[in-house]
Assembly symmetry: D5
């Protein structure tokens, strides 16, 4: 059989990350290279967004990536959860924050905006390092459109 070579976006992401690490390129440098914000860039390379072909090729050139890896970067992702990743301590802390503060955030959204949600689709995220006398801080800003529950009919 001569099936087309398909490497999963996630496996491709792990391979590219390894090349990136050895090349000494930081994620911020990759972000600049393709002209995208850092969180989006890392998410895309690790398999959660599709890069436009031009950006994928620019990254491929910079890192000397195989064509199959460049191609994987451009594919539409399946963004399904990988259950075990949620227990990595760095990632788990985010889920714990939602566990502890999720109902409070929901209460404030309903109080200030009305019944609805913060979109996870029309949304941007940034991560900053902020100096602090008691130890530097990770400041994550999640910026999503408010979507009110709306019973709209398209009038088909």
């Amino acid at each position: 059989m001569t099936l087309p070579q398909i490497i999963s976006k996630q496996a491709a992401g792990a391979a590219i990350d390894e090349v990136r690490r050895k090349s000494g390129l930081s994620w911020d440098a990759v972000s600049e290279l393709i002209g995208r914000p850092p969180v989006w860039t890392a998410a895309a390379v690790l398999g959660m967004h599709a890069l436009p072909p031009a950006e994928a090729e620019r990254l491929g050139d910079a890192l000397g990536l195989d064509a199959a890896l460049v191609d994987a970067l451009t594919r539409q992702p399946n963004r399904a959860a990988e259950a075990d990743l949620s227990t990595d301590p760095t990632i788990y802390r985010f889920h714990e924050l939602v566990q502890v503060y999720g109902p409070a955030l929901k209460a404030l959204i309903h109080d200030r905006f009305g019944d609805g949600i913060m979109s996870a689709i029309n949304c941007s995220i940034s991560l900053d390092r902020v100096a602090h006398p008691d130890g530097d801080r990770v400041v994550i800003t999640i910026d999503g459109k408010f979507l009110p529950y709306a019973w709209v009919e398209s009038g088909v």
Copy 2:
């Protein structure tokens, strides 16, 4: 049996929330009343933090709460997950963001800070409404201390 009256912090939170709603007091007003940030305030009232007695009583006076409810506000919480809450659409979106962007956030933390986590304990969260021509936005800022993996021995 004359067991001491114990109402769970969560049941107390639901009851107080209902009194609050009928009294017309917004969460922001409650926040001002006790002099605490809004997300912390809502989390505490809903059962995830303990209020100092003075603040609990100030809130109890304002809302005309029963002593058992005021007392519940001051108890040390068990902050365990209530599994089903995580599927409420407003709360689920936050977990989905961690699913989609968690590995990217982890990559950036390791790149900019080194191996470690953002603390979920030494951490504050704010939620703002920001006007935007395409629809107002929910802006959540998570601000946690970076904790590097450190193999410290106390020298007992």
Copy 3:
């Protein structure tokens, strides 16, 4: 203790449904009574949406409901999943359709609209009975706004 009377929205919904059944009022009649589409009406009464006070009272009058039930209808819902309900045969068939056709729907959405989702918040659903020689059919129309993945920053 004289805690405020709180009946959960779901328990209230079950109680109202039972009164409704005995009163002989169909869901369509309830829908007309409060001037809302049938699927929204049933969802709201069963606990998944909040009725405005005026509509809740109109329904309370028609069915002779207790004030606590009318009040429950107006509360902000927690829309979390009740796991076991998903195995009721009538409801399970919908989940099975998503299992079998979900990847195909995702493929078509991405093909015709681009990378994104159909909103479950800005969305209406109708259910019709359509006569057919081989047996009448249930026709469900789900009509949701397309939301493209968009990395918008509010410029705080």
Copy 4:
């Protein structure tokens, strides 16, 4: 060992999808090519239905598919759930709709048809793009035969 070459229907579907993408053929074009509705077509190619040999070969010719892939298209599927797919954001929204509106749909079916279900087997689904001033909409129509609970004995 010279075991017969067996590629799973799902792996075959992923491979064909990739060839399709690179060939520039939309799912609608594939649908026309084999003369089947779009949702059925995408579901079948991705592994949830069996294509008749003639249709499988027509598709194979158009895309230049290997014989093993053409053969996989004709096999009887196992339609079991792949658990993680249900958390992809595009697919998850459908499950969330069933979570929020499932009991309402069940109530209306029982009210308008009697005790029974909408068949997930005798069922068709279409997906349309409908223009709307506030943003185009995804309109999904699920059209399934009503099956009343019936205690039929075949009189063996």
Copy 5:
């Protein structure tokens, strides 16, 4: 609050079963009393089907049931799974048979009928005791309509 008295169908079933046992009435006698097949009868009384009011009253009279129990018998059931019941040894054996022989039954259905399912809605079940020299046997006959996968559109 004077909420309408609602006893769940399942709790009602357990209570009626206990009255039945003490009255000395076998399930076969109950089946004859209401003129329904035994498996359907036991399923309905235990909460999985609704009895028509006349049958519910006939049963109520025979067992001296409270009006609330008679009423519960007539309500539309939620037929969701109770997870733990599936581990009762008598019930578990049925699930184990599906585990061991399910793929074989699926293969034979597809071979003899084509692609489709045996309906669990248009279906009857009987249970017989058959004498056998090595020990009497439980013979269960499941008799369900074959439903072929059919992509029918109602032509709305």
Copy 6:
């Protein structure tokens, strides 16, 4: 390493099924070929029973199977559940029937036989196609020995 060639019974079953399908042999024909009932035959070939060597070879000759596949047919099976298979729609309907009617079957067994179970080990299953004016029916007969709870001691 020259480890002995071991193909799992299940992988072997899938491979043999594919050869069978292409050879045009129905499961009934395989059943006749080895002189075993159809459900047992399909279950055994798909990996849930061991075939005696003579029967395995007769089948291997008829289908032109590799020795490794013939050998796999004769191995003692591990009959453990494959979780996802239980969600295939054709198989799921059987589990749903146990969910809906399991407690009723248990009640009737206890009523007619006493406290005990229907054996899933001393048990046969047949599947028939029965013509019916409203559509042919799948009739499955499960025929298992009744086993009363018995506290027997072997007197070691």
Copy 7:
């Protein structure tokens, strides 16, 4: 409502166990009192078997039990798993033994008896205290009938 008083077998078991403890009666004494082996006796009282009325009354007299508790002892049990009990350290060790040695026991059963199981229905269990210089030992003997896989048809 005047529903018949129903206390679950398990709640009844916990209540009787508490009376037993305070009365100073050991489980062995209860076993002798009703003339049944100790493991069966404890299992029955705790809710896993039904006591014949005469034995239930003898126990009720000895412990001064309420009629509702005596009655509960005579009801047919639902023997479903209580998930959390399996993590009690004393009970967990038994599950761990099955985890570690289950495949070995299966291998030996198949080797010495042929393909089949040890019955969990036609089975007795005893527990003995055996003195040993390194610490007394718990010796549990499980004595179950071998049941060979047998495809028996009752010839209905």
Copy 8:
């Protein structure tokens, strides 16, 4: 890469079991060959204990095993659960016995020994075939040291 050849203990166990079966050696014969009790022997070969090198080689010689398999027999095992194995009918019956009789065994241990457990580490298991007029029986003896809860401090 020339990584050291590592075959998992479990895969090694399955391969050795297959060689053993074809060689006609029973588990009892293997047990005698290495001078270990049968249950321990089967558990060790299937991957749950480490064989001392001398015993592993004696077995390797008798069965003509590859060096990699002999080596795997001597490695320290990970004894973690394989979830699906617990649903094999022969193994499941043991878990079911713990489900039904676990609380009774716990009650008797506490009654006869005090608060504690039967060790699953200092423990031996034997399996015997005992003739019985109603069918031979599997008699399993579990013989574990009683461990009382003891709050011992080593006085570091």
Copy 9:
């Protein structure tokens, strides 16, 4: 019904903890009061160990506890897991440490002691506060007997 009053050990523990908090008695004071180590004391009061009657009464006197609570302290515990507690952030960190360091601890135990476990039954735990210039530290010492895997037969 006049069932004996039974309050679960856990509910009793929560009630006693609340009395303790209001009385101003620290856990260390309770520990001294009954003459037991602090971790054991807190575990016992919260429901995981049984207090001897004399200690339970001393505690009951000091706190003015109801007889039912004193009695609950003396009952044999069921030590089963409460699943949700494991997600409380303070408790979760301990599980995370086992996740991250468990395999390393297992490797060192096997290296230094041989194949076996650290007993969770013959085990003591202490918790100390140790001053440290960068912030005080929690030092937990777990001190358990090593138990080698030993195939001991009691020679019944």
Copy 10:
């Protein structure tokens, strides 16, 4: 494709452990070799921490490791849980201790330190063998920084 060679940290850890075992090097010797505490060393080699390149090479030289293995030692780990490992008896005992004593440890931490957690990130663990007349003991010391819940804002 010439993808960069990537071996997972865990697979690398298993391979190195096997080389280590055959080389006769104890974990303590490895610990000395790289100048790190034993628990940290074993955790790092088994995949839970990254070794600095110099240490990785020193270990690679001592054991004659392939470059790919040495490289794997230096990669940033994903520390996610491997679910099944938690049921290995040696590791499970640690989880059981948290189950039984976790709430007590939480109570003491809150009593002696205030509301907060013991850090699992700023934390060291040691394991010692301590002689004891009744059998040597495993003494594990967990030494983590106390982190009080603190609502710190970085003042961005």
